[in-house]
Subunit: 196 residues, 2 copies
């Protein structure tokens, strides 16, 4: 069974990066902001799955017949979870901690179909930053790029210059593991066919 | 010593992806097409380094005082080197061979500064494709995306949906390992300072 492109999907997320990733992957996308209080601390895997599910659930009443996708991404280093930085000094703190070492990016994905039963999955990617100089950190923050990104960086933006290697899904680091979404769509379709 | 952004660089390559990567990384870029006959077979590492150096060399007379960057990317699977596909059936052959397994992406980078001495480096990234269905391969080719890409795919485009993991530099898979460029720039600057 092949996954057809141009499948309809409701994205329960405001993230322009997720929108772009899914549009590039060929989905016919409806975007619906999910305003839910997000958990910000705890085990990263539990946290992102919980937030992803809460987002997908929040828009379900508006799209009862749709295929809804919710997602949440955090960065974790030594058990510390980084969401979006509060300000420049918070971004600086995060980037200093990420410099010259490996960290993990977690994205929780929740898919809810018309039958209401959710499929959830979490992807983890290891990311390595080169040792950034103070100047490089300051210059990077001055571009404004870190402010709306989990962990204060965008691999697809200027931070790509400081990331020498990753291990795992690349799109996960941007905010949505596309091959995981593909697997979930296939799983959902297979179970829907069994139910018929 | 920090690497300052907005450094001037002459890109000896027509690739819009390389231009975008370097611009996003903050370089002040001049693009100059290097029309050189490219080697297409042989050991991938030797091949990309040779082509990268030939491209950088080709534009040197036009920019004798510039910092010139040449690059070349190929995909290799089981010792077979894939450049850009010739047509749809060639793209189909490549994608079938890449499906459901790991392959390698090699990019050679050559940097020539005003003193004429080149710095070269090769980056290798392992890339894994999920098992694509025949439908998925056909649909992907019909988008036209594979035709001007080494190995017949673009990870930053629709092929991102079929790549579940990579190991190594991500920007290398797009066509230019940015952190390697950073290292080369630092190396060049350090040697220029020693010479003074």
């Amino acid at each position: 069974m092949g996954v057809r492109m141009n499948q309809a999907l409701v994205l329960a997320s405001e993230s322009p990066r997720r929108r772009e990733l899914l549009t590039q992957a060929g989905f016919d996308l409806t975007v619906c902001s999910a305003h839910v209080p997000e958990a910000e601390s705890g085990d990263p895997r539990t946290l992102v799955l919980q937030n992803a599910l809460a987002k997908a659930n929040a828009v379900r009443t508006q799209y009862p017949d749709g295929m809804i996708l919710g997602a949440d991404t955090v960065v974790a280093v030594d058990g510390q979870v980084f969401g979006k930085p509060k300000d420049a000094s918070d971004a600086c703190r995060m980037l200093r901690l990420l410099s010259g070492r490996w960290h993990q990016v977690y994205t929780g994905v929740a898919l809810i179909g018309p039958d209401g039963s959710p499929v959830t999955r979490c992807a983890v990617t290891d990311v390595h930053f080169v040792e950034m100089t103070q100047d490089e950190i300051a210059t990077y923050i001055s571009t404004g790029e870190p402010f709306d990104k989990a962990g204060a960086y965008a691999i697809q933006g200027r931070a790509g210059y400081f990331i020498d290697r990753i291990s795992g899904s690349y799109s996960n680091v941007i905010g949505l593991p596309l091959a995981t979404v593909r697997e979930m769509m296939r799983e959902y379709q297979a179970s829907a066919m069994t139910d018929e």
